[in-house]
Symmetry: C2
Subunit: 360 residues, 2 copies
């Protein structure tokens, strides 16, 4: 973006000259269009803007304007989020996209591993100062003392995958509630009426998925009791496998349940294995829906129908929020809580349910 690859593999900056060539007008016309300094015919205007966008000039200009003030960002991550823990595909995807974008923009990312509950806000703020970081990104943590401490220090900070109910810090999360509703709504439209939601006792961001699960039942006028919950001990695959295994025993089979909505793909991976081990066929005996849209779900048998979270956009969005805050000269800038939209990915693990038609 903002650069154009040349034959020799190197890239050079895109400028008004390139746009003028591409759009077939003079460079002054390009400038006029970009700045609104003269009235330009709509046709020309459109052509110029199209060219500018296509060549990445607009995005480049935008990025360049913001990053000037930012050269280092402290990245606070809980220990179980680090890359060596290869079970956590979600964090891995988020981190790798964040790293790539930072590199592209020449921002130095300094990782700061959080060790359990020991690290105080003070330690994080201290680290940011000593690294001369202009901002802090916190991944997968939103403990209240931490958030309050950091907010009190007045550094620009953003939570990724966390929320600050005191509305002091900026945050980026998936659209958890709407996403879960989307998934559940789709199961309902496929004819499922009794659905089990397998989740775990995680942070508020995960509870939002449960809220959305219930929302879909309510919005479709279905009885709330048919939206059942099962809590696994965590989100790792083996815990999902364990949870469904125990549930099948306690319940003497699937009962009336015809679909399972897992609060994370990771969990779904284990749940599918558990179901298959117990002799159930997916999706003919039971449908399974995931949440996250992480790579492995594509390669299971059957492949996992899920809600895709734009994980690769979360880091860049967080960078943008920090930039905005650092650049702004408003002291009263309200905190920004950003939810990124999710999309349903229909693959093979969901089949039509017993109720043929949509209840709507």
């Amino acid at each position: 973006m903002g650069k154009t690859a040349t034959d020799d593999g190197r890239s050079r900056k895109v400028g008004v000259k390139d746009i003028s060539r591409e759009a077939g007008v003079s460079i002054s016309t390009v400038s006029h269009v970009l700045n609104g300094t003269a009235s330009i015919s709509p046709a020309v205007r459109t052509r110029v803007l199209e060219a500018a966008r296509r060549l990445g000039y607009l995005a480049h200009r935008q990025a360049k304007a913001s990053i000037t003030a930012l050269d280092t960002i402290l990245l606070a991550v809980p220990p179980d989020t680090l890359p060596q823990n290869n079970l956590n595909f979600v964090s891995w995807t988020v981190l790798s996209a964040l790293g790539k974008e930072s590199e592209r923009r020449g921002i130095r990312l300094v990782p700061f591993p959080l060790e359990g509950l020991a690290n105080s806000a003070k330690a994080i703020v201290e680290a940011a100062r000593s690294e001369k970081a202009g901002g802090i990104i916190l991944l997968n943590v939103d403990r209240r003392e931490l958030v309050e401490g950091i907010a009190g220090a007045g550094v620009a900070a953003v939570l990724i995958n966390g929320e600050d109910s005191s509305m002091q810090l900026d945050s980026v999360t998936p659209g958890n509630r709407f996403g879960a509703r989307l998934a559940t709504d789709w199961l309902i439209r496929q004819g499922h009426r009794k659905i089990l939601h397998i989740t775990w006792r995680g942070r508020a961001t995960i509870r939002r998925r449960g809220d959305g699960f219930v929302d879909a039942f309510v919005d479709n006028g279905l009885p709330r009791e048919d939206a059942q919950f099962l809590f696994a001990e965590g989100y790792e695959p083996h815990l999902g496998e364990k949870a469904i295994g125990e549930w099948l025993v306690a319940n003497k089979g699937l009962g009336e349940i015809t679909a399972i909505f897992c609060a994370a793909d990771n969990l779904a991976l284990g749940v599918m294995r558990g179901l298959q081990t117990a002799g159930y066929k997916i999706p003919s005996d039971i449908s399974v829906m995931g949440f996250d849209g992480v790579a492995p779900g594509e390669f299971t048998t059957p492949s996992l129908t899920t809600v895709n979270v734009p994980l690769d956009q979360m880091g860049p969005a967080a960078l943008h929020l920090i930039e905005q805050r650092v650049t702004s000269n408003r002291l009263d800038r309200a905190s920004h809580r950003l939810e990124l939209g999710c999309r349903l990915i229909v693959r093979a693990s969901v089949a039509p349910g017993p109720a043929g038609t949509s209840p709507r």
Copy 2:
């Protein structure tokens, strides 16, 4: 911002030259700091960035980078939102700040009044095209057909004060749920245990305030039944007055309620009048809390304790989202649902309740 007032009242652009003077360094050093093209001593770096921010150079640069592509925006508003309807202080505040910011940036805002349910998405998109608008802002509307229709047309559009559960359009809302929780939590901390939430059957954004009201009870370990709801017929002051009047009659007085949390300041205005007409003293007999932080609440007797929504930042945030979308050359850019943080404004309408201490 981005300009500096001179003695004769005019303003001129702020440039690196001004920053270099302000920071006491050469212009090339300023450039190096802004672009990270040389390693600069932390002291100098900080001084330069401080000066750049103070003079508004950073904000200016940022704004300038984005607006180039945008010269006209269509503003779709329901008829009851228009300025002549002076009861709707919230919309008035949002619109006036949006107008001011658009003017400052040289963006032409074309109002498009929605007439009841008659206007289709097609009509709006059509109007945007004929006005050559680069984006659409929809205020206080989020009907599904409208949202889907506009999303389908592929124009950049943002909802202000609305949500798109299908996660296709961008939106800006107050942090309704967290804000209501903040308000209720504060009432609880003041010693109130039985609280009445007066609201109306509005859109989802308003229901979120009810959610937050309940959240506060749950988080504080208080019985859910003590979080009572009363629905007025709308948000106008006289409907609040009517609702509380009827409730007092039906209930033969206040009963155990010691505080009332109104889902809007506008409603609170009428509720206060109703309570006072019925002979109750605020806050000694009953505490009243509002939501919105709109001007009139400051001038009531007693003045209204409320949750301040950054109404003046909603329009600018919406513009920013449109710019981002127009500028971006990603086709798969996820929808952005943005919630702006709110702050509690403690004034005179809330007194300590019967339970002295905080339950936590």
